[in-house]
C-alpha cells in the first residue's frame, strides 16, 4: 500500500478539518451557549401573568443548551460531511484517511475520528469517566444514609443527587459493553475492516460528550427534583437543572439511534465470508439484540422529554392535569422505553460472558441455539412488559394481569441463558481468571436479582414492595451485580487486544473480590430495609432502619475501594503493564488473530471463516 499523506488535497476545507478537535468544540459550544443566553435574556418577552413555574427561564435555559449542542457539534466537525454532501464536494480519499486518524498519533483520540478502534477507546475512557461521577454521587448518597436523620447533604441537593446518580448510571451501563467493545472488538470479531458507517460511529461518540455537559451544568442550576425516571408532573416544577436532564436525554437518544443503525448494519452486511449466522459469535448476537431493542425504544423516551420540556417552557398540557394532561401518559411513554432499556443494559454483558465461558473452560459453548433463542426471547418479550412498573399507578387495573403474565414469561428465556453458561462450564477445564470468576459472580448475583424480580412481578406482592428499597436492591443486583460484572470481565478479557498489555492480575483479583463482597453486603442490607418498610429516594428514615442502612453504607465503601483499585490497575497497566502476546487466552474468535497494534484496516487480507469459534476439546465443529 502506498504511503498516503494525511494532508487532504481539497484546498477549500483543508485548514478547517485539520483544526477541529475537542477544544474547538468546547470553545464553540461555550461561546454559542453564552451568546444565545444573553440574546434570550434581552429579547424574550416576559411571562404572561397566568403562566406557572417560570416558563421564560426554562426557555432561556433550553435555548442556551441547544446553542451549546449546535456549537459543540459544529466545532467538532460533525457538520462538515453533510455540508459537503449538499454542496456536492464529497470528501476525498485523503480526507477520509485523515478522518480515520491515519498517522496522527495520540491526537486522533481528541478528534472526530472515524476509525472504530479509536471510537472504542474513546467510549472506554468516557464510560470510566461517567462511572466515576455516578459512583461519587453514590458515595454521597450512602454517606448521608449512614445516619437516619441524614443532614450531611441538604434535602434538595440529596434528591437531585439521587436522580442524577440514577440517570448517569443508567447511561453508563447502557454504553459500558456496547460502547468500548461493540465498537473496538465487534468489527474485528466479524472479520470486517471497519463499521458500516464510520462517520456515524464518530458521531455517536461525540454526541455523548455533547450530552453530558447540559446534565452537569444543570447541577449548578438547582439540579433535578425527580428520580432518574423524571416523573411528570413533578418534573414540571423542578428547578432549571431539569432542562439539563431533558437535553441530556434528547441528545443521548440520537446517539443511541445512530449507534443502533451502525452496529446492526455492520453485523448484517459486513461479516466475513463464510461467517454464516450459525458461525457468528454469541457476543455479536447480544450486541445486535441490545442495539436493536434500543432503536425503537429510545425515541419514545426522547418524545417524553420533548413534551416535558414543552410543558416547562411553553406551558403545554401533556402531563399537567389542570390543562388536560396526564401523568399516566408520561409513565406509559417512559416505561415503554424503560423496560427494554434494562435488557439493552443486561444482554451485552451476559453475551460477553457467554463468549468468555468457552475460553475459560476450554469447552464448546453449550447449545448455541438455546443461547440465541434466549437472547431473542428476552428481547422480544421485553417490549411487552412495561406496565409492571405501573401496577400501583392505578391507570388500568384490568391490564395488571396480562402484564404479570408477560413479565413472568421472561423468566423462561432468562433461564435459558443460565443453562448455556452452566452447561458450558460443566465438565470443563476451568482456567481460574477474573473473567471466569465473573461468570460465577454473575450466576450468583443474577439468581438473586432474577428471583426477587419474580416477587416484584407478582401484583399482590408488588403492592407491598413497590416504591421501597427492595426494588432498588433488585435492580442493582441485575444491572450492577450481573451487568457491571460482565462489563468489568469484558475489560479484563479484551484489555490485551485494545491496549497491547495485560491488566495487572493481582490488582484485578483484589478489585474483583472487594467489589463482589462489598456489593452483596450492601444490597442484601438494602433488601432487608425494603422489606421492613423503607421507601426509596428518602434522605432520612425511621430509626428502625438504621442497622440495615449502616450495613449498606459500609458495603458501599468497600465497593468504592474496589473500583478505585480497578481504576488504578487500568491506568498503571495501560502505561506500563506486561506486554501482551497476540492471543493470551488462546481464544478462537477473529479478534485474537490480529496483533497489537492493530493496523488501520484491521486485516491485510479479509479472513474467510469455515467454522464457529467454539471448537474446543473433542467437539471440533
Amino acid at each position: 500500500m502506498t504511503t498516503l499523506t494525511n494532508r487532504p488535497t481539497s484546498a477549500h476545507k483543508k485548514a478547517l478539518i485539520e483544526h477541529l478537535n475537542i477544544f474547538t468544540a468546547l470553545a464553540l459550544g461555550a461561546i454559542s451557549a453564552f451568546v444565545v443566553w444573553r440574546l434570550a435574556l434581552q429579547f424574550l418577552p416576559q411571562d404572561a401573568e397566568t403562566s406557572p413555574f417560570f416558563n421564560r427561564e426554562d426557555k432561556i435555559t433550553l435555548l442556551s443548551m441547544i446553542a451549546w449542542f449546535v456549537g459543540f457539534m459544529t466545532g467538532i466537525g460533525a457538520l462538515i460531511a453533510p455540508f459537503r454532501w449538499v454542496t456536492g464536494k464529497d470528501l476525498s480519499h485523503e480526507e477520509n484517511m485523515f478522518y480515520a486518524g491515519k498517522d496522527m498519533g495520540v491526537k486522533r483520540y481528541f478528534r472526530y475520528t472515524t476509525d472504530h478502534k479509536v471510537v472504542g477507546i474513546q467510549y472506554l475512557v468516557m464510560t470510566m469517566f461517567i462511572f466515576f461521577i455516578g459512583g461519587t454521587l453514590a458515595m454521597l448518597i450512602r454517606t448521608n444514609l449512614g445516619h437516619p436523620e441524614g443532614g450531611w447533604i441538604h434535602p434538595q441537593a440529596y434528591n437531585s443527587i439521587v436522580g442524577t446518580h440514577g440517570i448517569i448510571m443508567i447511561v453508563a451501563t447502557i454504553i459500558m459493553v456496547t460502547g468500548p467493545f461493540g465498537n473496538f472488538i465487534m468489527p474485528i470479531m466479524i472479520g470486517a475492516r471497519d463499521m458500516a458507517f464510520p462517520r456515524l460511529n464518530a458521531l455517536s461518540f461525540w454526541l455523548i460528550v455533547a450530552a453530558a455537559v447540559p446534565l452537569l451544568w444543570g447541577q449548578f442550576l438547582g439540579g433535578i427534583s425527580t428520580g432518574w425516571t423524571a416523573y411528570n408532573p413533578l418534573a414540571s416544577q423542578a428547578p432549571l437543572g431539569m432542562d439539563g436532564y431533558i437535553m441530556f436525554i434528547c441528545i443521548f437518544a440520537i446517539s443511541t439511534m445512530v449507534a443502533g443503525a451502525n452496529i446492526t448494519t455492520t453485523v448484517i452486511r459486513m461479516r466475513a465470508k463464510g461467517m454464516t449466522w450459525n458461525r457468528t459469535p454469541i457476543f455479536i448476537y447480544g450486541t445486535v439484540a441490545s442495539v436493536g431493542l434500543a432503536l425503537p425504544a429510545f425515541p419514545v423516551f426522547f418524545l417524553s422529554q420533548i413534551m416535558s420540556g414543552m410543558d416547562r417552557a411553553l406551558g403545554t398540557g401533556f402531563y399537567d392535569a389542570a390543562h388536560g394532561g396526564s401523568g399516566w401518559l408520561y409513565e406509559n411513554l417512559f416505561w415503554i422505553m424503560g423496560h427494554p432499556e434494562v435488557y439493552v443494559i443486561l444482554i451485552p454483558a451476559v453475551a460477553a460472558l457467554m463468549e468468555m465461558a468457552p475460553v475459560f473452560s476450554r469447552n464448546p459453548l453449550f447449545s448455541f441455539n438455546v443461547a440465541v433463542l434466549g437472547i431473542a426471547g428476552i428481547s422480544g418479550l421485553s417490549v411487552l412488559v412495561w406496565a409492571h412498573h405501573m401496577y400501583m399507578a392505578g391507570w388500568a387495573p384490568l391490564l395488571n394481569a396480562p402484564f404479570m403474565l408477560t413479565t413472568e414469561l421472561i423468566s423462561i428465556p432468562t433461564g435459558m441463558l443460565f443453562l448455556v453458561l452452566v452447561g458450558t462450564l460443566w465438565r470443563g477445564r476451568l482456567w481460574i481468571t477474573v473473567p471466569l470468576a465473573s461468570i460465577f459472580a454473575l450466576l450468583w448475583n443474577f439468581m438473586i436479582g432474577g428471583i426477587t424480580g419474580i416477587y416484584l412481578s407478582d401484583v399482590p406482592a408488588d403492592a407491598f414492595l413497590h416504591g421501597s428499597m427492595y426494588v432498588t436492591a433488585h435492580f442493582h443486583y441485575t444491572l450492577m451485580g450481573a451487568g457491571l460484572t460482565g462489563a468489568i470481565a469484558s475489560l479484563v478479557y479484551w484489555f490485551p487486544k485494545m491496549t497491547g498489555r495485560m491488566l495487572d492480575k493481582k490488582l484485578s483479583w483484589i478489585s474483583f473480590w472487594m467489589v463482589q463482597i462489598g456489593f452483596n453486603v450492601a444490597f442484601i442490607g438494602m433488601f432487608i430495609v425494603g422489606l421492613a418498610g423503607q421507601p426509596r429516594r428518602v434522605e432520612g428514615y425511621s430509626a428502625i432502619f438504621s442497622r440495615g442502612n449502616l450495613i449498606t453504607t459500609i458495603g458501599a465503601y468497600v465497593i468504592m475501594a474496589g473500583m478505585l483499585i480497578l481504576l488504578h490497575a487500568v491506568v498503571s497497566s495501560w502505561r506500563n503493564g506486561v506486554k501482551a502476546p497476540m492471543n493470551p487466552w488462546q481464544a478462537k474468535t477473529l479478534e485474537w488473530s490480529v496483533a497489537y497494534p492493530i493496523p488501520l484496516e484491521n486485516f491485510d487480507v479479509l479472513p474467510i471463516v469455515s467454522s464457529d469459534a467454539y471448537g474446543y476439546g473433542k467437539a471440533k465443529s
Partner: protein, 200 residues
Amino acid sequence: MSVETHAHHEHPDVVGSRNRLGVILILVADIAFALSMLFVYFYLRMQNVNDMWLPAATEETPAILPLSSSSGWTVTAIMAIGLLAHFYGLKGVREKNQTQLNLGGLVAFILSVVGLSYQFNTIATAPFTFGSGAYTSCFYLITIMNFVHIALTVFISLGNWNRTRLGLYKADHWHVDIVNVWWIWMTVSSLLGAFALSFT
C-alpha cells in the same frame, strides 16, 4: 457518504444497499417516535382529564375549538406531489435520463419549500396558545414535528438536486433511491398526523 474510508473499492450496489439498510434502521427509530405521538394524541383525547382536552369557555377565555384537519391533509398532499416528482426523477435516472432526474429533483425541492412555508403558516396562525389545553398541545406537537421533517426534506432535496446538477449521479444513483425511501416515510408520517388531527 459516497467515498469509503479504505482503498478497497466495493461495488456501488453493495455500498448502496448497505446505506439503504442503515437509513431504514434510522427510520425505524423515527417510526417509533411518530407512533408514540399518535399514542399521545389518542390517549389524552380519551382521558380528557378535567375536561380540558378542549376547554370550555371561561370568564377570561373563549372556548377552544379544534381546527379542521384540512391543513394537515393539504400539507400531506403537497409533500405527496413532491414525492411523485422525486420518484419521476428516480425513474428517469434508472433509464439513464439525467434531465428527467434534474427536473424531478428541482420540482420536488420547490414543493418541499412550499410545504415548509405552508406548515409554518399553519403553526403561526393557529387561533390558540400552547397553554390552551391538551388538544392544542398535541396540535402543536404534531405540526412542529412535521415542520422539522419537512425542513430536513428541504435540505435533502436541495442536496439531491444540486448533486444531480453537478453530474454526481451519472455512474450510480443509490443516493436518489434512499432519498425516495425517506420521502415516502416523511409523507406517510404527515398523513398519520393529519389522520390523528381529524379526530377531534
